[in-house]
């Protein structure tokens, strides 16, 4: 065969692609600013390129040199949806580095906060997914259910977004749970479970929705692993990986790792729907077995430590924080959010779908780009 006529992946793509449709950075289907260039042929996406970076805030640079308590507090500002996850993981880095023993009661309350955050994040995801589908009614109803979780978070943390519950050695005193709060938590979980079950039954019984989401934005198990997908996006392809299984904080709790097989929008949406009852199960166990005792361990001393890493499972997948401590101040801060590793999966999911489904294929991976757009590294070429 003549080498000149050999069709490579690149030349084949160039031959097929007729038009580019750029979307963003401002678009009604995107909650956050990102740019996607869709390469289409008769409205079918043949290739996609996603670019982020318009919301750079440089939080790592700001954290550099701050006292560790202040730096931890700043990590909450990385993300408005999973603020607790960031501060918890950042606090875990310090606790791991300084070998601080955390009281059991504080551990349980941290788990309750994290699972509440997972609940509201998943419901926000489902609401946004329905909004992009064009089903405003389901979207509004999910926001209505989510409101209960937001109020519970406000009750414990004092805020609806940045609760500031974990501190080094335990939790903030105002976040301790008394009888009244436990009662409201219990009632809230009953309400959310009832409503989300009702929603799930209606959702899967709606033929129009099923027709829109089945077989759309498919990511195979092999592609998900190749593209380093993480969290529910990876689990929706059938890979049973949940970092909570490896976290000692979750050892006392029974829960199932939910997986789906198809890796399409339906699998991703159902993943979150089915993870909600698991989170409720964990919260109920934590409430029931909540130990008595102190909520903070103040008997620790600051010392210099080298770079320490911590991974936790947050609503979108694996979250990484690391820093070193130098005279009580943080150095070499690195944060990696799950969305950055899911970008490859997002681009891949668009390919082969109608252009209307492209945003849906991106949304299925639950992008959170404001927390991903933090740091830039300038490399002199």
């Amino acid at each position: 065969m003549d080498n000149d006529n050999k069709i490579t992946d690149e030349t084949r793509n160039e031959q097929e692609i007729e038009t580019e449709v750029p979307m963003g950075t401002v678009h009604s289907a995107a909650l956050e600013p990102y740019r996607i260039r869709l390469f289409v042929e008769d409205e079918i996406v043949r290739d996609a390129e996603m670019t982020i970076g318009v919301n750079h805030r440089g939080i790592e640079r700001i954290m550099e040199g701050l006292p560790v308590e202040k730096a931890n507090s700043l990590t909450e500002k990385i993300c408005g949806i999973c603020s607790n996850s960031h501060i918890w993981n950042s606090v875990l880095v310090a606790e791991k580095a300084l070998e601080i023993e955390v009281p059991e009661r504080a551990l349980y309350i941290r788990i309750i906060m994290e699972e509440l955050e997972r609940l509201h994040s998943h419901m926000l995801y489902l609401a946004h997914g329905n909004e992009v589908l064009g089903h405003e009614t389901f979207s509004m109803r999910l926001f209505y259910i989510r409101e209960t979780v937001m109020e519970l978070l406000r009750m414990i943390g004092g805020n609806r977004v940045q609760y500031g519950v974990p501190v080094i050695g335990g939790i903030r005193p105002r976040a301790d749970l008394n009888e009244m709060r436990i009662q409201r938590l219990t009632e809230g979980m009953d309400f959310v479970e009832e409503k989300i079950t009702d929603f799930a039954e209606r959702f899967v019984a709606d033929p129009m929705i099923m027709s829109r989401i089945t077989g759309v934005g498919v990511i195979s198990k092999e592609d998900a692993l190749r593209l380093s997908a993480t969290g529910p996006t990876l689990r929706a392809t059938g890979v049973a990986v949940d970092l909570r299984r490896d976290m000692k904080e979750y050892d006392p709790f029974e829960f199932d790792v939910i997986t789906q097989d198809d890796g399409d929008v339906k699998s991703n949406l159902l993943m979150r729907v089915l993870e909600i009852p698991e989170s409720i199960k964990i919260i109920r166990q934590a409430i029931k077995a909540l130990p008595e005792g102190p909520i903070t361990n103040r008997s620790w001393e600051m010392q210099d430590v080298t770079i320490t890493k911590s991974y936790i499972e947050v609503p979108r997948g694996k979250l990484y924080h690391s820093y070193s401590l130098d005279e009580g101040r943080v150095r070499n801060v690195i944060v990696r959010t799950p969305s950055i590793t899911n970008i490859g999966a997002m681009e891949h999911a668009c390919i082969g779908n109608h252009i209307t489904d492209a945003q849906l294929a991106i949304v299925q991976c639950d992008p959170c780009f404001t927390c991903t757009d933090r740091a830039i590294q300038i490399i002199q070429l």
């Binding site: 580019e20 449709v21 750029p22 009604s28 390469f39 064009g134 405003e136 509004m140 129009m208 829109r212």
Partner: protein
């Protein structure tokens, strides 16, 4: 016809138009406040806001020139839409039936086609800043396919409008011919007279099927969910309407409200034999039909995701087949 009769007829036509405008400004509010908001368990906008206060507000906003090769024509299109709606309403008024050729379903179909073509023009005459490019170079070294020509949302919408004209609007035109088949005439006066003698077309098998098909066609023509492929939030956002601002956007809102009333009046004329006429109590039926269409449309759209071609064309094909069955049933 005496001069007095002519004057009365003229006053009736003007009065009917005023009633149509007066009712149409409340229909979007009813749709959003009483149906969407109630279904979605939220308060919703004030009743007068979507159809009345918003257009008034837009009339007093600063005029922003659209990003268009022919901004004058682009801005004129919504007003042309209003004129077409008015013409459609005039056709079906009984006072106008003496213009025999003009007051026929052929004229109805022609004007509805012009209404559809407007979206194609709108789409090809605008390029919103949201879709064309960034204020900085976004095709960088190493970017994929750097030399592929760019399209924009309005262009996509325009192509979709063309597909709607070619195929998507079949149902409403098939449904319009159900009363024609029954009455054996294309003239509206004959269709109305037939129903005064034999009862409304709606109360026959063919009529019921035709009404269902008409309603689906009505939703497609209104670009309402689930048939809103021209203005889908997931890709083209508002599509051809994206660049309208100030008073031109007000015209878009007025045009939409009026089109709801006009299409429901066409339904009342063709399927109930009750054309809009201020001199008759039956104008109330026209208003009730407009309300019913608005409410049913809002309920359907509230419980539907937006369709892509994969769902849209099979539905259109299925409904068109139903329409053909309705015509066969009406011949029988």
């Amino acid at each position: 016809m005496t001069i007095v009769d002519s004057l009365i007829a003229l006053m009736a036509v003007i009065g009917t138009l005023i009633v149509a405008f007066a009712v149409s400004v409340w229909l979007p509010g009813i749709e959003r406040k009483f149906v969407h908001a109630r279904i979605q368990q939220r308060i919703g906008p004030p009743l007068s806001s979507p159809g009345l206060m918003s257009p008034i507000k837009f009339f007093f906003k600063e005029i922003i020139n659209p990003n268009s090769p022919m901004p004058g024509l682009y801005n004129a299109l919504p007003f042309i839409g209003i004129i077409i709606s008015v013409l459609l309403l005039l056709i079906i008024m009984p006072q106008m039936y003496f213009f025999a050729t003009f007051a026929s379903v052929i004229a109805l179909v022609g004007l509805l086609k012009v209404e559809e073509i407007l979206y194609m023009f709108m789409g090809s005459l605008s390029k919103s800043v949201l879709s064309i490019n960034m204020p900085f170079p976004d095709v960088v070294k190493g970017a994929k396919h750097p030399n592929v020509p760019r399209s924009f949302f309005e262009e996509l919408s325009s192509m979709r409008a063309f597909r709607l004209i070619a195929l998507g609007s079949f149902p409403i035109y098939i449904a319009i011919f159900v009363p024609v088949a029954m009455a054996g005439s294309i003239f509206l006066s004959d269709i109305v007279a037939y129903q005064q003698l034999h009862g409304p077309v709606l109360f026959t098998i063919g009529g019921i099927l035709g009404a269902i098909v008409f309603f689906v066609g009505f939703m497609i023509l209104m670009n309402e969910y689930p048939f809103a492929i021209l203005k889908t939030k997931a890709d083209v956002i508002e599509g051809p309407l994206l660049e309208y601002a100030s008073k031109y956007r007000a015209y878009v809102y007025i045009s939409r409200g009026l089109l709801i009333f006009v299409l429901s009046s066409i339904f009342a004329t063709l399927f109930l034999g009750l054309p809009p006429n201020l001199l008759s109590w039956t104008i109330l039926i026209n208003i009730i039909v407009a309300l019913a269409f608005t409410i049913i449309m809002a309920i359907v759209s509230a419980f539907s995701p937006v369709f892509t071609y994969k769902q849209f064309f099979p539905v259109v094909a299925g409904v068109s087949v139903l329409g053909v069955l309705a015509i066969i049933a009406s011949f029988l």
